[in-house]
């Protein structure tokens, strides 16, 4: 299953809006739950069962913690438990969706979709570099972490200067990777005075229509429930 990058953007917008604003009443609870489970389902369908299961477990676990453990605790312990659970359960669904979008979109497809939407270069290029760069940055961070562990440099032994110990090498190598990336992109015709062609093919299919319809329906339901709180509060 392949979704068009533009579909993914509509979906990101709908899920973020519905989860942020929420809305009240039974109907909106159903809509919100549906939008919550949407990202996990997409992750699973795209063949990332492991990640989907892990994130869903984190979500349900934190939700259960807030629902069952919180009422039995008092004062500050209550506040900390509930806050942790709230933050985790609020951000895990959007993080799952962001992961899905990042993992299933190639830079080529993304640039093609941006081109079709007439998004100017000054926003499309940095965004595509950003998408391309996160996994690289993660790899470098892991390598630096391993090196620091080997030299017994931990947050405990170094305190605040641990930040310096890790961030400085990370930034240095990010800069040099950036130089390589620029050279590669220029060699492929980025910054040429005429429009680029693209090997990524994008286009809408039936599954795109379904996802967009669901996203729009959820956003519409939210707008309706905010405008007329009584209309669908059952």
């Amino acid at each position: 299953m392949r979704l068009d990058p533009r579909t993914k953007m509509v979906m990101l917008f709908a899920v973020s809006t519905v989860l942020l604003l929420g809305g009240n009443g039974g109907a909106m609870f159903a809509v919100r739950t549906a939008m919550l489970l949407f990202p996990f389902g997409l992750l699973a369908i795209s063949g990332r069962m492991h990640a989907a299961g892990l994130m869903l477990a984190a979500y349900l676990g934190s939700y259960a913690l807030a629902a069952f453990a919180a009422p039995t605790l008092e004062g500050i312990a209550n506040a900390i438990t509930v806050a942790t659970a709230t933050v985790v359960s609020r951000f895990v669904p959007t993080l799952a969706l962001a992961y899905f979008v990042f993992a299933t979109t190639t830079v080529s497809e993304f640039m093609a979709a941006m081109g079709r939407m007439r998004i100017p270069d000054w926003i499309a290029i940095p965004l595509s570099v950003l998408f391309r760069f996160f996994p690289t940055l993660g790899q470098e961070a892991r390598a630096i972490n391993a090196a620091m562990r080997m030299r017994n440099i931990t947050p405990i032994s170094r305190g605040a200067s641990y930040v310096e110990n890790c961030l400085v090498p990370l930034m240095s190598c990010a800069v040099s990777i950036g130089e390589d990336l620029s050279a590669a992109a220029l060699a492929r015709g980025l910054g040429a005075p005429w429009p680029r062609t693209n090997t990524g093919s994008v286009g809408f299919a039936l599954v795109d229509a379904v996802v967009i319809a669901v996203s729009l329906a959820a956003t519409a339901a939210l707008a309706l429930s905010l405008a007329f709180p009584e209309a669908i509060a059952w």
Binding site: I125, M171, G191
Partner: protein
């Protein structure tokens, strides 16, 4: 900031249109900036620290920002950095107000950096102070959409949590948060500059 011979080799000339290379640089530094912000924001799990992350993020984020400024010698780059940071905040579920605050404060920071001809150290630090104010956008959902957002939270998680949270996020707290962002942004600018001198200038990449 003093320009070294090496810097002018790795960055384009001051002024003029943004080239592909500039835009790639913006993308890379947005990634680093976001990673720093996200790592610090994880401390916000605890409600007491939630408001305090306003003051902690700029302290560390000053390091990538100062290195970024050594490459941002054209108008528009800092604005795009702010806009993109806001967009990522939106994608990761922090609401869309950060897009607006990122754009506005990024633009002002850009103008300040431009007014120092992209070379003044004091303007660089001031620019980071202003830029850091975008963080307020992460808290605006509590203020602007409170009427729809809070009952949901209250129903799900009980009064204790909401009351705890709202003692820190009263409407009159927002100017305080903004000032805190700015002040720690200035301090973060000094930290970033010190690190820049200590490591990056010496290594020839600043």
């Amino acid at each position: 900031m003093k320009t070294t011979g090496n810097a002018s080799a790795s960055t384009s000339k001051t002024g003029g249109r943004l080239t592909g290379k500039d835009l790639i640089n913006v993308g890379i530094f947005t990634a680093i900036y976001f990673v720093v912000v996200f790592a610090v924001a994880c401390l916000g799990f605890i409600p007491i620290l939630m408001a305090a992350i306003c003051g902690i993020i700029p302290l560390i984020a000053g390091i990538p920002y100062m290195l970024f400024l050594t490459r941002a010698r054209k108008f528009g780059m800092t604005t795009i950095l702010g806009l993109l940071t806001g967009i990522i905040m939106f994608i990761t579920g922090m609401g869309y107000f950060s897009i607006a605050t990122g754009l506005v404060f990024g633009l002002i920071a850009d103008l300040i950096w431009k007014s120092g001809s992209y070379a003044s150290a004091s303007r660089a630090i001031l620019s980071h102070g202003v830029f850091s104010c975008w963080i307020i956008g992460n808290f605006l959902p509590f203020l602007i959409t409170a009427n729809t957002y809070l009952p949901t939270v209250r129903a799900q998680y009980g009064d204790a949590y909401v009351n705890e949270l709202m003692t820190y996020l009263q409407p009159e707290m927002y100017p305080v948060l903004l000032v805190a962002c700015f002040a720690t942004g200035i301090i973060g600018g000094f930290i970033g500059r010190a690190i820049l001198k200590k490591h990056f200038v010496r290594a020839g990449i600043a």
